[in-house]
């Protein structure tokens, strides 16, 4: 099982790590902005991108090979979900190093991520892969990626809209709402983090059960 979990790390392409670096550029607006929410979003989607890159278009062929080894389908599915922790850990390490360097050398304000922020990112990351894996096992990589890849862009778009609202002098009511929300998040970080984790854990558990059911019924009839 351990080997199965680590399998994706050993077989990850170098190009995936390089492409992941592009997410840093997009989410930090070319290394010029350091709002904590950007770092949370970056962590979620860097981890997500690396996790789904191991399940790329060759996934079906690889599945034939892996499932012809002494590996049960339950182990096969569990390993996919468990390896998410590895991708999240690697992404978190890279982003924390980046924030340290940014905070030390860049002339823009920022701060180190807090533990609740890391937990919120972990929860959100698992929410997305809980959606991705059952889709992939049932309908294939292309469809699963197409349906989930829009999420980082939607979240960035939402963030940009909020920033625009905050700069618009005619939208005082909305600004008050967002400021209150931000205040609420800042003062109740632990409560929010634990709530997100709880919801995420529940949905991940359901997703695992669903994926096991899907894979158990799957005939690997294409090589």
């Amino acid at each position: 099982m351990n080997a199965l979990i680590r399998k994706d790390v050993y077989t990850q392409k170098m190009s995936t790590y390089l492409i992941t670096a592009l997410w840093f550029i997009i989410f930090t607006n070319f290394f010029t902005e350091g709002q904590p929410v950007r770092h949370v979003l970056l962590l979620i989607f860097a981890a997500y991108y690396m996790a789904i890159s191991t399940s790329n278009k060759a996934f079906e062929k690889e599945s034939v090979l892996i499932n012809s080894l002494p590996v049960t389908r339950k182990q096969f599915v569990l390993a996919k979900y468990m390896s998410g922790f590895i991708w999240f850990g690697l992404s978190a390490a890279a982003i924390l190093v980046y924030i340290f360097l940014f905070d030390t050398f860049a002339p823009f304000p920022t701060r180190m991520m807090t533990i609740p922020e890391l937990l919120i990112a972990l929860g959100c990351f698992y929410l997305i892969i809980s959606l991705f894996y059952p889709l992939q096992f049932k309908a294939g990589y292309i469809l699963a990626t197409s349906l989930t890849i829009a999420l980082p862009f939607l979240s960035l778009m939402a963030f940009r809209i909020i920033l625009n609202i905050m700069e618009n002098p005619r939208m005082v009511a909305e600004q008050t709402f967002f400021l209150q929300t931000a205040d609420l998040i800042t003062t109740n970080q632990w409560t929010i983090a634990l709530s997100v984790l709880l919801i995420s854990a529940l949905l991940t558990w359901l997703s695992i059960l669903l994926s096991i059911r899907i894979v158990h019924k799957t005939d690997f009839d294409h090589a």
Partner: protein
């Protein structure tokens, strides 16, 4: 056969939609034998193999590996099996060695010495540290074979292992397989639609057609002496020999008999005493193609590959 089979397929059936893809297939495979699994394209060879290694669910029936049902001992059962399903999909951006190392990590007790040993067995020492993307198809097949052998399986399944290989590659692969069967003592089950390949490689053949097992026979039967008698009238001779306890096969201008050489003079005497003219007697070797056509009643096979 008194030897305990390493693999038994018991009444294996696979239904997809309303179509029976595999129909009540039973087959026993024994240690030390190379068994060919022969059938036309679409006969159900790959489906059977995929069910044997758990890639496809069976509708009914059971698979026993070393006497134990695979459904109850999946991991233990498959740990005794090595498999190549069609063209093995390795990680092309890794070297052959890293691929083997990767698969070794996923199984128990495989040392680096063992990896080196299988690399030598399949003759890939010179290129093993190069990326798989630079390998020819034949080399990828040999790497697939090395991967399948890593954990010292008792039973090796090869699904169309020579698909896409040129004649030299087929010959090379066959030699490697023979050597492995002899040195490792594994039972090999090899599916193919290429008669000549099976004929040269196997000790025994199982023929499948439309999902049903048509026949199983030892290749040694092919080597048993057959003689062609050119004679006239053939029908009369056929009847006479049948009455005499022989099993002649009637051909348009004669017949074929499976007899010992010493019996031939007495058969000629019998025929001539019954006013049958014998023009020639010559050894006749039944090819696998003859046998296949006998078994399938003329079923098609991709014979063009064998020419």
């Amino acid at each position: 056969m008194n030897i305990k089979p390493i693999v038994e397929l018991q009444n294996l059936t696979k239904v997809i939609g309303n179509k029976k893809i595999i129909d009540d297939l039973s087959l026993s495979l024994y240690p030390g034998q190379i068994t060919g699994f022969l059938g036309p394209n679409g006969a159900g060879k790959t489906t059977t193999i995929r069910m044997m290694v758990g890639l496809m669910k069976r509708t009914s029936g059971e698979i026993l590996i070393d006497g134990r049902p695979l459904s109850e001992n999946f991991e233990e059962g498959l740990s005794k099996v090595g498999v190549i399903v069609e063209n093995p999909e390795m990680y092309k951006f890794l070297s052959g060695y890293k691929n083997l190392l990767h698969f070794a990590r996923m199984q128990k007790n495989i040392s680096k010495e063992r990896i080196n040993e299988v690399v030598r067995q399949v003759g890939l020492e010179q290129r093993i540290h190069e990326k798989v993307s630079t390998y020819s198809l034949g080399m990828r097949q040999r790497l697939g074979l090395a991967q399948a052998l890593l954990h010292r399986p008792k039973f090796l399944i090869l699904d169309e292992p020579t698909n896409g290989l040129d004649p030299a590659g087929i010959r090379e692969f066959r030699q490697h397989l023979r050597a492995i069967a002899e040195t490792e003592g594994v039972s090999v089950f090899v599916s193919s639609h290429m008669l000549s390949e099976i004929e040269l490689m196997c000790d025994r053949i199982a023929v499948i057609q439309n999902g049903r097992l048509v026949d199983i026979r030892d290749m040694s039967e092919t080597a048993q002496p057959h003689y062609y008698f050119e004679l006239s009238p053939a029908e009369k001779a056929h009847y006479l020999l049948l009455s005499g306890g022989f099993a002649p096969e009637l051909l348009p201008v004669g017949l074929v008999l499976q007899v010992e050489k010493v019996q031939i003079p007495s058969i000629i005497k019998l025929l001539t005493a019954n006013e049958i003219e014998v023009f020639a007697v010559q050894p006749h070797r039944k090819t696998l193609e003859d046998q296949f056509l006998e078994m399938t009643g003329g079923g098609q096979i991709a014979e063009s590959y064998t020419k």
